[in-house]
Symmetry: C2
Subunit: 296 residues, 2 copies
């Protein structure tokens, strides 16, 4: 027999790429929730969710949706999580669960735990999945399959609530692991935030070239540059918020990167063939381990 | 009727990824040359070429191969082109053609033109194609299809010789264009060399992390980082030579990039949300143009 739904009523606030993928998964499997609400303040988004028929109910009242729900997942830009949580939490039922999918934690955990009404739990989780597209049309039910979802519950949250969310993400197809906010942000600074900062910057540098050179650069974009432009195609508001929220860790990671980049530039400047080769080989070692881990 | 072969005897010096792809293409189409010679100083490479049966003849004598050929293409690391050209050119027949596939030009063009015996032409070309693999097993006949091959003949080379090489690369499936060495190197610094420098460096930075963090970074490698590791997987010797040969243009391009990176870091440091978004959006603009150009 199929698993009974984990929740009775589930609200997704912000049915974009991540949110609409959860809704599609819930619809397709029937094991996440019996009744699905999509809440958003944009009428266009709600209209589109209706047309796509991926929720049982759509509403622009976040508080009303929250009041009816056993679980609410905030799938909105990082910078909006705190104010929206503050607005909806007083309306949430005892025994219900708040989550978000923010890709940077910073002090979100303790900040939101401090706002929790009696009996409401907060178990945020970061699904490490995505594409460069956004909006309700961009989602798909298999987005989280075989991807990591990192659970980052603040201290003092009930183990039962944590297990529920772990189960939720496993039913979405994810592998799950639990870690602290700080460690999460360190890992993400190097696997995701710094690569994006560099990709945005190299594309920006190309955009500022003289007109002729810019157009030829685009014409002859070889794989290296093309890969960067794909990374750089991601949503600007989301990434602005990520950079701001993970500011300290990201800038510290950038400085480590910059130090290494200067050592490489110096080796090239001094025509130190051995040092250049050594640095290139270290990069390849990482690739090798990724291949061994079947992540490449 | 099929086209007659362009050349009678063609020698590929260095049957690696690029060289063995030319050989496979020549074998498959029959329109590039009647007789194919693979020359290399490594017995292992020659043995493998024989096993793969992608040449009519293999030899470790580069000068003997050159003496018999109507065209010789050097598919060897950039740094080896000048000495090998110097060694084989005195043996080449009048009316024959020397080429190479170096991805950086620097002063190769005028340097080698100065060494040309009477009646021998030099028409180098850079096929903008490749994978992260190398060696005779890595090649395939369609590697150059729909990719640009940039012809960079030095001044004073006969138009007939240039047409021959243009025809050659078009028969390999490439789109071709002719440009100066200097312009070529500027374009490649940004579309290829700087992306590789950054990719090697970010992978190197990751490799230097503490053991725990390094292993988790690898475990959770999201798409951004994974893309960088793919770029960073390329051949160290080839890239060392590219960096050294295009030193001045690459370092100038790096400095432009670094200036932009600092402006982004400063915007994050100052929490200047508008400046961050503006910079991210510029990067996306480049991606949009690539999509319009059908290069994405």
């Amino acid at each position: 027999m199929a698993d009974a739904p984990l929740f009775d009523t589930l609200t997704i606030i912000g049915p974009g790429l991540i949110g609409s993928s959860i809704l599609r998964r819930a619809r397709q499997t029937g094991t996440l929730a019996r009744h699905l609400i999509a809440a958003d303040c944009s009428p266009d988004v709600l209209k589109r969710v209706k047309e796509l028929d991926i929720a049982d109910e759509v509403t622009d009242s976040l508080t009303e949706a929250a009041a009816k729900s056993d679980a609410v997942i905030l799938c909105i830009p990082t910078g909006a999580i705190r104010p929206v949580a503050e607005m909806i939490l007083p309306h949430m039922k005892p025994g219900s669960l708040l989550s978000d999918v923010a890709s940077v934690r910073s002090t979100l955990g303790p900040d939101i735990r401090a706002l929790l009404p009696e009996g409401v739990s907060y178990v945020p989780a970061h699904p490490m999945a995505g594409t460069e597209y956004s909006g309700p049309d961009a989602g798909f039910a298999t987005l989280f399959e075989d991807r990591w979802t990192l659970l980052v519950p603040p201290e003092g949250i009930s183990p039962d609530a944590i297990s529920m969310m772990e189960n939720f993400w496993q039913r979405c197809g994810s592998r799950t692991r639990q870690m602290t906010d700080h460690y999460h942000d360190q890992v993400c600074a190097i696997v995701s935030h710094l690569p994006h900062l560099l990709a945005f910057t190299i594309c920006d540098t190309a955009d500022r070239l003289s007109t002729d050179l810019r157009s030829d650069v685009l014409e002859y974009a070889a794989s290296g540059f093309r890969d960067f432009t794909r990374i750089a195609a991601s949503d600007p508001i989301m990434w602005r918020d990520i950079f701001l929220t993970n500011k300290d860790t990201l800038l510290a990671t950038f400085r480590r990167f910059e130090k290494e980049a200067h050592l490489m530039v110096e080796a090239i400047q001094n025509e130190d063939a051995e040092a250049i080769t050594e640095r290139i080989k270290r990069g390849r070692r990482i690739r090798q381990t990724l291949i061994e881990n079947r992540q490449a």
